[in-house]
């Protein structure tokens, strides 16, 4: 089932790139919906009351290095699979897209499915790196100005991180001779995986690899350039799904395998998360390019995730309710940020298509010409700034609830991030939507029917999560309980 999920987009990529279809995007969307059916079936088969991996497929692959083909889902994996499934059609519909780009997007989708379901490090790393290549090519070939620089920076930076992580894992393999996540987790629970300086080196390597991917301050500088330059759909996927690979890696690898190191470094890691939050929102405030602004806010939002995670894992004294809150908050935030940030990029893309520019100063008084566009865009913005009733609030409330118990002062500072995010969005709304209609914006048209069809389901999802989030929590509640027990 999961193998089929991974293979469908790959086959789609071959079909799209081999055939000379005129409607490449249409074909890609067909494969997307096939994958969606597959993901939906997995969701149906998934037993939400059982902890641990489900729908496991295990085959011998390269026995000499302990690499197995091992895929399976738990609540977290399923959540991310569903997120990927939602994001890709959304991203493909965001703009006119060439055949090659369609194929690359499908390859990336397959790689993401693989990353989120693989349970063996070698396999996981294969998919992890596989996602990097299409992302690089998409930025390099289809990006905007400065694409060469941004693409190379993105590739080298993240690749360097991956190499560090690979070395770290080789270190673990030589000491413990397994690449299986579950086995490693059990080993780590019974005693430290490694000892002495090696442990710190390995920890540093893996931490670096994941921190670059998330990204965590100060490893974030590839992000604004890459997001700014990438085409709309690619930015949506980069922020919506690719950045989640980092968070996923933290949850799946670093936190279970290195509990002691994280406890020792706890305050520093929390400080990094809080700095990410503050710097992300403050720098976003200073941006005049809308896409860059959204990019920096991504750093801010992922900072909340990291705050929650570090809070869970730094103190063993925290009570179960706080751990549950923080973990659930992180999971919800992962999902929320995926759809909300993607929606924001989508809207920025729409504005850019209409106006040919995306600076704050390029627009004024849009509300008079395009009330629907402004209305739906405001929803996405309010969701992102954490307005109750929309999805963003749920995740942030739970994360703060969980982290407050452990690190009240860090949380108090992090709350400032919410304020600066609000300031950033208010400033953007003021200069985009209100005021007198600028001459240059006279030709801007409102949302077309097709665009409305794209954005309404996503917005409805935001409202659904904001008002009645239980359906989302059902996916991962058992996993949360299980993980909390693991970390406690």
């Amino acid at each position: 089932m999961i193998t089929a999920l991974i293979l469908i987009p790959l086959i789609g990529a071959f079909v799209v790139s081999a055939g000379r279809f005129r409607y490449a995007r249409f074909i890609a969307l067909i494969f997307n919906s096939l994958a969606a059916v597959c993901a939906f079936l997995i969701w149906q088969k998934f037993d939400t009351s059982a902890a641990g991996l489900q729908l496991v497929e295990r085959h011998v692959w390269i026995p000499s290095i302990g690499a197995e083909y091992l895929v399976g889902v738990d609540g977290l994996s399923l959540l991310l699979v569903l997120l990927t499934t939602i994001l890709f059609p959304f991203a493909l519909l965001a703009q006119k897209i060439e055949r090659g780009a369609c194929a690359l997007m499908l390859v990336m989708q397959a790689a993401l499915y693989g990353t989120f379901t693989a349970q063996n490090f070698v396999l996981w790393f294969l998919f992890y790196e596989m996602s990097l290549v299409p992302a690089f090519l998409l930025i390099k070939i289809y990006g905007g100005d400065k694409r060469d620089r941004a693409a190379v920076k993105f590739f080298i930076y993240t690749f360097l991180g991956s190499v560090a992580m690979l070395l770290g894992f080789l270190g673990i393999y030589f000491a413990r001779s397994t690449f299986d996540f579950a086995q490693l987790g059990d080993l780590a629970k019974s005693g430290p995986l490694l000892s002495g300086k090696i442990a710190w080196l390995v920890f540093a390597g893996i931490f670096l690899g994941l921190a670059v991917k998330v990204p965590l301050f100060p490893f974030h500088t590839w992000l604004p350039d890459a997001y700014e330059t990438a085409p709309t759909g690619v930015s949506m996927v980069l922020t919506g799904a690719l950045s989640k690979m980092g968070v996923y890696g933290f949850i799946r690898l670093l936190l279970p395998l290195f509990p002691n190191e994280i406890k020792i470094l706890g305050p520093w890691l929390l400080a990094l998360a809080v700095i990410s939050i503050l710097v992300g929102s403050l720098v976003a405030w200073a941006q005049t390019d809308l896409k860059r602004m959204v990019a920096y806010l991504s750093i801010n939002h992922l900072g909340y995730c990291m705050l929650g995670l570090f809070a869970v894992s730094t103190r063993s004294t925290s009570s179960l309710i706080d751990m549950h809150a923080a973990l659930s908050g992180v999971f919800v935030q992962i999902f929320n940020h995926g759809i909300t940030a993607a929606a924001l990029f989508y809207f920025v893309g729409l504005l850019e298509q209409r106006r040919g520019a995306r600076g704050l100063a390029d627009f004024s008084g849009l509300m008079q010409r395009a009330p629907l566009l402004c209305g739906w865009m405001s929803v996405a913005m309010f969701s992102s700034l954490g307005l109750p009733g929309l999805n963003g609030f749920i995740g942030e409330f739970l994360i703060f609830k969980g982290s407050f118990a452990v690190a009240a002062s860090f949380t108090a500072v992090a709350v400032l991030g919410l304020l600066f995010t609000a300031v950033t969005f208010m400033r953007a709304m003021q200069s985009l939507f209100s005021g007198p209609l600028a001459n240059s914006c006279n030709a801007i048209i409102d949302l077309s029917r097709d665009e409305t069809f794209v954005i309404v389901p996503v917005t409805l999802l935001m409202f659904a999560i904001g008002l009645a989030p239980q359906f989302l929590f059902n996916i991962f509640n058992t996993t949360v309980v299980h993980m909390a027990r693991l970390f406690a």
Binding site: W285, L387, S434
Partner: protein
């Protein structure tokens, strides 16, 4: 009996649903839009009255309905709705005032092209506000609280093409959000300490177990108070409220006078048990802070109001000042008095704002009181109702609701054991209130200036009349002789005691009001009859007047300090990001580049060079040799000949 409690959620839900259906309607369906909004409001009013009647059955009635919102991990987050006297009284006030304002808006906004959107926002606001009132969970309250903030953002910035409106909306949202962040932290802390955010839950709610909070109660209370400071326009976060007058006047009436700004006071009253944890003689550190913030706000705003010329801004500062008064009352322990003043204030301040709206409408959107005057005869209904509102606000005794509630508050402050300063400062505030209201009414209505003004249509004057009646009739339940509302809020039974009607405090407040109005008439009596005369206070104290007219330069101070600091921080971080962090990355990158260039050079100049030289030497020799092969056979022949000759000579020479 409990059916109303089971369906309590419908009270906010119906206006919210009305709002959504209006938004999904076509823009041009104006009648349907306003109809939907008003029907929604009427239903909400009906249900509120039903709820109110329910609470009358037993003193201290309290019913709640809790349910799990969602489950995270194996914990569930519970929220709920509560109906108690506080909520019921607020419900009726909000829906009643809201209905009047909705009706008024039909006339006031009749020419606006975004008429239906306006009603959608109004309904949305009303729903959110009602949600705040009946929430039985601090989290649910916060959710509606933020939605109220959103609604006020949308309504203040309703005239989107005006840059000033957009700026005011932004300012309102951000300023209140500063307070809300404090409230948010307070919620987190409270949740951490008490393990629940439900107010009442059969003895398990956070208010019922507030005593267990211990030392952290002060911190939690102060953080919650931050939210109230933001929303209720208390010092130092009051700056958004006067700017919010950029919105349409019904909005000012609904949001910035009657309901939303009162939410802060309501919040403090709602979580009062947390504020009073560990009270000695009713004094706790958190309540002391509330008192002093209230005193500063009340006095400062009253002073500023004296020097304003915009009819709505005067009322805005008056609102800020009255909210300060309510906070003081809560702080000194007069919870019921504060809430009573809140309710009474809701009626008469909405009346004043709507009256001001009627004046503005009649004068074709003129808001400067110096350009008004002599409207007494031209706008008779507006004048009469406005005068009722003014007297209620100033606290003219016996017949006007404001008088009784102010007297209660003054009484409560005089009982405060810690200090008498708030009491005297509040007395000064009462004088100032009477003064600036007299000033305003003289400027606007008196004198004999001829103006091209017209009375507003009936749809606008009817709400004025209803509200004026409310402002007067409301005093029936407030008098000390039959302090029904007071006891109702406190959950006690009530008896009539006519002897307590005339208390010393009543006489004191009568004197204070008389001083205020007298001073007003003394200062401004000539303004009315003379055209374009400078404000008498301005001529007497130009420096002081400028100080007050410029709102004590607080906006400027904020702009130069906090805002400038944050902006600088954001720019510095941006610079850091572009130059330092990215610079490090680029430096590492260029290190790689440099080493690349270095190795390339070794390769090219060192190893490759030998091979290259050999090949190029061979090529040069070849080129040289090929030059001899000219293709001219005669040359070859000649060469052969020469060669033979040379061989011959050699042979001959060698012998």
């Amino acid at each position: 009996m409990n059916s109303i409690v089971d369906h309590l959620w419908l009270i906010p839900a119906i206006p919210l649903a009305a709002s959504l259906s209006i938004l999904s309607l076509n823009h041009s369906r104006r009648k349907i839009a306003s109809g939907l909004a008003i029907v929604g409001q009427i239903v909400a009013l009906g249900m509120s009255i039903l709820a109110f009647v329910t609470t009358l059955q037993t003193p201290g009635f309290r019913a709640f309905q809790n349910f799990a919102w969602f489950t995270f991990g194996d914990q569930s987050l519970r929220i709920g709705f509560v109906l108690d006297p506080l909520a019921a009284a607020m419900l009726v006030m909000v829906t009643l005032v809201g209905l009047c304002i909705f009706l008024f808006s039909i006339g006031y906004m009749s020419a606006d092209k975004n008429f239906s959107r306006f009603f959608a926002y109004l309904s949305f606001f009303s729903g959110a506000m009602l949600g705040v009132v009946i929430a039985n969970s601090l989290l649910l309250l916060f959710i509606f609280w933020e939605l109220v903030g959103l609604a006020s953002y949308l309504l203040i910035g309703f005239w989107i093409d005006r840059p000033s409106a957009a700026a005011a909306a932004k300012k309102a949202f951000i300023t209140t959000r500063i307070g809300d962040m404090g409230l948010f932290l307070g919620i987190l802390w409270l949740y951490h300490q008490s393990g629940t955010l439900l107010f009442y839950n059969n003895g398990g709610g956070c208010l019922e177990t507030a005593g267990l909070l211990g030392a952290s109660a002060t911190g939690i209370a102060l953080l919650i108070f931050c939210g109230a400071v933001g929303k209720s326009g208390q010092f130092p976060l009051h700056v958004w409220l006067p700017d919010a007058m950029e919105g349409p006047t019904p909005v000012s009436a609904l949001i910035h006078a009657a309901t939303m700004v009162a939410a802060g006071v309501f919040l403090v009253a709602r979580v009062y048990p947390i504020f009073s944890v560990g009270a000695i003689n009713g004094v706790t550190p958190s309540l002391t802070v509330v008192v002093w913030i209230g005193v500063i706000t009340g006095l400062m705003a009253a002073l500023i109001a004296v020097a304003q010329f915009d009819i709505k801004r005067i009322l805005a500062y008056s609102t800020v000042s009255q909210l300060g008064l309510m906070m003081v009352s809560l702080g000194v322990g007069g919870v019921a008095a504060g809430i009573m003043h809140l309710l009474a204030h809701g009626f008469f301040k909405a009346l004043l704002f709507l009256g001001a709206g009627s004046v503005i409408h009649g004068l074709h959107h003129e808001q400067d009181i110096r350009k008004m005057g002599g409207l007494r005869s031209r706008m008779r209904i507006t004048f009469l109702t406005y005068a009722v509102g003014m007297m209620a606000l100033s606290g003219v005794p016996l017949f006007f609701s404001g008088a009784w509630t102010k007297e209660e508050i003054l009484h409560a402050t005089s009982q405060w054991p810690k200090s008498h300063v708030p009491h005297y400062l509040m007395m000064l505030g009462v004088v100032l209130t009477a003064l600036y209201m007299t000033r305003q009414i003289i400027y606007v209505f008196f004198g004999n200036r001829e103006r091209d003004a017209h009375e507003s249509p009936r749809v606008m004057t009817m709400p004025l009349i209803v509200l004026a009646i409310c402002a007067v009739a409301f005093s029936v339940v407030l008098t000390p002789a039959w302090p029904w509302l007071d006891r109702y809020l406190l959950g006690e039974s009530v008896h009539v005691d006519l002897a307590r009607l005339i208390s010393p405090m009543l006489i004191t407040s009568f004197v204070l009001v008389a001083i205020g109005i007298g001073l007003g008439i003394l200062f401004y009596r000539r303004v009315a009859s003379h055209d374009r005369q400078a404000d008498p206070l301005e001529t007497a104290q130009p420096m002081l007047f400028r100080f007050l007219a410029n709102k004590m330069w607080l906006d400027e101070v904020y702009a130069r300090t906090i805002i400038a600091l944050c902006k600088t921080a954001s720019r510095v971080f941006d610079w850091f990001d572009r130059c330092v962090w990215d610079g490090i990355v680029r430096a590492v990158g260029s290190l790689g580049q440099i080493s690349g260039i270095f190795t390339t050079n070794i390769d090219e100049r060192g190893i490759n060079a030998g091979v290259d030289e050999t090949t190029s030497g061979a090529r040069g020799v070849g080129r040289l040799m090929s030059a001899a092969h000219s293709g001219q056979i005669q040359t070859y022949l000649g060469a052969i000949g020469l060669g033979m000759l040379a061989l011959l000579i050699l042979y001959a020479w060698l012998g």
